[in-house]
C-alpha cells in the first residue's frame, strides 16, 4: 500500500492557469503573487477566491495597507466572478490596517491566527504583503523579525490546512526576500510594454512538487476575469503516416494531380505568391471542397477588413456554419491566444481543414513583442495544429523577386510539409500567372510550371509553356532551338 501523502490539486477557476501550474494549485501551499502595480495580482486572487471558497471552508481576505478595501470592493465587483452573495458567507474580508500601522508584526500575526482559528478557512489571502514588510521596516523595533514572521505564518497556515496567498508588489525577482525562500509557489505577473502595445505575462517561477509549464505565458483581463493562454499541449507520439497516404482534394482537379493526387491529410501547405495571385481564392476553394465532401473547416483571417476580402463562396460557408471564422481583432495578440482560438473552433466544429489567411496579416496582428520570435511562433502554431490532426493551408504574401526563388519572407518554408508557389510572368505584353508545386513531403509531385487563370469559377490550371524559358525570371524568352552540328 502506498502511504505517501497525496497532494490534492485545486482547480483555480482561472482558465488556463491550472495547465500552467502543472495540474492545479497544490492544497495547503504557501504562495506569493508578485508583480508591479496594475498587473492583476488582486484580480487573480479574487478570481481564485470566488472559485474555491465554500461556506464550510471559506476564504479570508486580509486587507492590509495596500488598496483601500472600499475601492477594492468597488472595482472587483465589476468582474463576473464577483458574487455578492458569497460575502460574509464563503468570503470574508478582514481589515488589518490599524494593526499594521502600529508596525507590530507579532500583533499582525496574532490577528491573522485568531481569525483563521475562528473561521477555519480553506484559503487565506494577505493583500498587500509588501505593506506589512514596509510597516515593519519603518519601526526601530528589534523584535520585528520579518523572516521569522514569514516562517511562522507559513507554518501556521499550512498546519491549519489553509492554502495561502501573499500578494505583494515586487519589482525585482533578485530581491533577497525571505518569503521567496519560504513560499512553495511564486506566481509572477508582468506587463511588457513595447511601443503602443501592452502584453500581460505570467510566470510560475516556483511551484513545489509539480512540473509547471516554464516561461512567460500571456494572459488577458476581461470582465469575465483573467484568462491565461497556456501553450497547446502537443501529442507526444504523433500518429505515424499511414500508407497509402490519404489525400484531400484541393477543389482544383489539375492542382490535385500536380500534388500527386491531393494534399496528404494532416499536412501543412504554404501557398506563397504576390498580391492578387489568387492565394485567398485557392484557400476558399480548399474549404469549399471540404464542405462539399461533408468536412468542416476553420479560417483565421488577419486582414484589415475581413468582411470585404471574403469571396461569396467563403461567406456562404461561414453563414451556413460549415466553416468557422476566427477573426480576432483584439490588439496585441499572442501566438498562444491565436492557437487557442483556432483549437477551440476546430474542436467545436470537428474541423479537418484549417486556413490561415495570411501569415503577413498574422504577423501584423501579433503584439510587437512577439514579432521577433515570429518564426518560432509560427513553428509552434503549425505543430499545434497539425498535431491536432487537421490539414492546414497558409497563405503568404511574397514580393516577386525574379532573381531568386523564395517561398516566404520569414524563412519558414522548412516548417511546412508542402509548398505551392505562384508567380507573375510577362508574355507578349500580358501579365500571366504561373504556379508550381515545390514540395510535398514524402510524396511524389509534379515539377511543372503551369499557367493558370482566375475566373468566376475560381482557379483554372492550364498548360505549361514548354517553348519558353526563364519563367522564374519573370520575363521568359522564346526558347532557342539547339541544333547539334555534325
Amino acid at each position: 500500500m502506498n502511504t505517501k501523502v497525496t497532494i490534492n490539486r485545486l482547480a483555480t477557476g482561472v482558465p488556463g492557469l491550472d495547465e500552467v501550474l502543472g495540474g492545479g494549485l497544490p492544497e495547503f501551499s504557501f504562495n506569493l503573487i508578485a508583480g508591479p502595480p496594475g498587473c492583476g495580482k488582486t484580480t487573480l486572487a479574487h478570481q481564485m477566491m470566488f472559485a474555491l471558497a465554500t461556506p464550510e471552508r471559506p476564504a479570508l481576505f486580509f486587507t492590509v495597507l495596500g488598496e483601500p478595501p472600499l475601492k477594492m470592493l468597488r472595482y472587483q465587483q465589476q468582474f463576473d466572478f464577483f458574487d455578492d452573495n458569497a460575502i460574509n458567507h464563503s468570503v470574508r474580508y478582514i481589515n488589518l490596517a490599524s494593526d499594521t500601522l502600529a508596525g507590530d508584526l507579532d500583533e499582525v500575526l496574532r490577528r491573522i491566527v485568531a481569525e483563521v482559528e475562528a473561521y477555519s478557512p480553506a484559503l487565506v489571502f494577505v493583500d498587500s504583503f509588501r505593506s506589512v514588510v514596509l510597516a515593519s521596516q519603518t519601526q526601530d523595533n528589534p523584535n520585528n523579525n520579518l523572516p521569522q514572521f514569514v516562517q511562522q505564518l507559513g507554518m501556521l497556515m499550512t498546519t491549519w490546512q489553509a492554502t495561502t496567498f501573499l500578494i505583494g508588489e515586487y519589482f525585482s525577482e533578485t530581491d533577497t526576500n525571505p518569503i521567496f525562500t519560504v513560499a512553495d509557489g511564486l506566481i509572477w505577473l508582468r506587463q511588457s510594454v513595447q511601443r503602443n502595445s501592452m502584453v500581460r505575462k505570467m510566470e510560475i517561477m516556483k511551484m513545489r512538487g509539480q512540473p509547471t509549464l516554464p516561461g512567460l505565458h500571456t494572459f488577458r483581463i476581461a470582465t469575465s476575469g483573467i484568462k491565461v493562454f497556456a501553450p497547446a499541449p502537443l501529442n507526444q507520439v504523433e500518429a505515424p503516416l499511414t500508407f497509402p497516404i490519404q489525400r484531400l482534394k484541393m477543389g482544383v482537379p489539375r492542382l490535385d494531380e500536380m500534388l500527386g493526387g491531393g494534399l496528404p491529410r494532416g499536412y501543412s501547405l504554404l501557398v506563397a505568391g504576390p498580391s492578387g495571385s489568387g492565394k485567398s481564392i485557392l484557400a476558399a476553394t480548399f474549404l469549399a471542397e471540404g464542405a462539399r465532401n461533408g468536412e468542416t473547416g476553420v479560417i483565421a483571417v488577419f486582414e484589415q477588413r475581413p468582411n470585404h476580402s471574403q469571396n461569396a463562396t467563403l461567406a456562404g460557408l461561414i453563414q451556413s456554419g460549415q466553416v468557422g471564422l476566427v477573426d480576432s481583432r483584439a490588439p496585441d495578440l499572442s501566438i498562444d491566444e491565436i492557437v487557442q482560438l483556432l483549437l477551440s473552433e476546430i474542436t467545436r466544429l470537428s474541423a479537418t481543414r484549417v486556413v490561415i489567411d495570411s501569415l503577413s496579416g498574422f504577423e501584423l496582428a501579433l503584439a510587437p513583442t512577439f514579432r521577433e520570435d515570429f518564426r518560432e511562433s509560427l513553428s509552434r502554431m503549425v505543430t499545434a495544429l497539425t498535431s491536432a490532426g487537421v490539414s492546414v493551408l497558409m497563405t503568404s504574401e511574397l514580393e516577386d523577386r525574379y532573381t531568386d526563388l523564395r517561398f516566404s519572407p520569414y524563412g519558414t518554408a522548412f516548417l511546412t510539409d508542402a509548398i505551392i508557389v505562384q508567380r507573375y510572368i510577362e508574355v507578349e505584353s500580358r501579365l500571366l500567372r504561373i504556379m508550381a508545386v515545390v514540395k510535398v513531403r514524402a510524396s511524389a509531385h509534379s515539377d511543372e510550371l503551369r499557367l493558370y487563370q482566375i475566373d468566376d469559377d475560381g482557379l483554372q490550371v492550364g498548360e505549361m509553356l514548354p517553348d519558353r524559358e526563364g519563367l522564374l525570371g519573370g520575363r521568359p524568352t522564346q526558347q532557342r532551338k539547339v541544333t547539334f552540328e555534325g
Binding site: P69, L73, R74, D84, I87, N88, R92, Y93, I94
Partner: protein, 144 residues
C-alpha cells in the same frame, strides 16, 4: 427627500418600528446612534475604522448640504466622530427634527456606500442592521 428607493423605505420603516410611538427626543437619539453603531460594527472588520469614519463624515456633510432643516445638527457634530456627541445633540432637538435627521442620515449613509460598492453588496453587508426591525421580511428577500 427625493423619491425613496426600496432600501430607504425599509430603513425608515425599521427606524420608525424601533423608535415606537410617542418616543421622546432622547429615545429617538438613542435609536439612531445604535443603528449607526450597528452599521459601524458591520463595516469596520471589512473596510477598517478609517473607512467607516470617512463614510460617516461624508454622510454628515451630504445631510447638511441637502437637508437645510437639519443642517445645524450636522454642523455641530461634524467636528467630532464621537457618536455620543450626536446622541447629546439629537436629545436637544424636537422629536420631529430628531427623527427627520435619523431618516436622512441613515439613508444617506446607505446610499453613499451603495454608490461606492453597489446596492446589492451594501444590502448584503448591512442586512442584519435593519432585519430585526422589519415586520415584512419578504421585502428584503428581493435581492437575487
Amino acid at each position: 427627500m427625493s423619491a425613496l428607493n426600496e432600501e430607504s423605505r425599509q430603513i425608515i420603516a425599521a427606524l420608525a418600528q424601533r423608535v415606537g410611538p410617542n418616543a421622546d427626543s432622547a429615545r429617538i437619539a438613542q435609536v439612531i446612534v445604535s443603528f449607526l453603531q450597528a452599521m459601524e460594527a458591520a463595516l469596520t472588520p471589512i473596510i477598517g475604522p478609517q473607512g467607516v469614519a470617512a463614510l460617516y463624515r461624508r454622510s454628515l456633510q451630504l445631510c447638511a448640504s441637502r437637508h437645510p432643516r437639519v443642517a445645524h445638527i450636522s454642523d455641530r457634530v461634524q467636528a467630532s466622530l464621537d457618536l455620543n456627541a450626536l446622541d447629546s445633540q439629537l436629545a436637544t432637538e424636537s422629536e420631529a427634527d430628531a427623527l427627520y435627521f435619523g431618516e436622512v442620515m441613515l439613508t444617506t449613509f446607505h446610499d453613499l456606500l451603495a454608490s461606492l460598492i453597489g446596492l446589492s453588496l451594501t444590502s448584503r453587508l448591512l442586512h442584519d442592521v435593519w432585519k430585526p426591525y422589519l415586520s415584512d421580511t419578504s421585502a428584503q428577500e428581493n435581492s437575487p
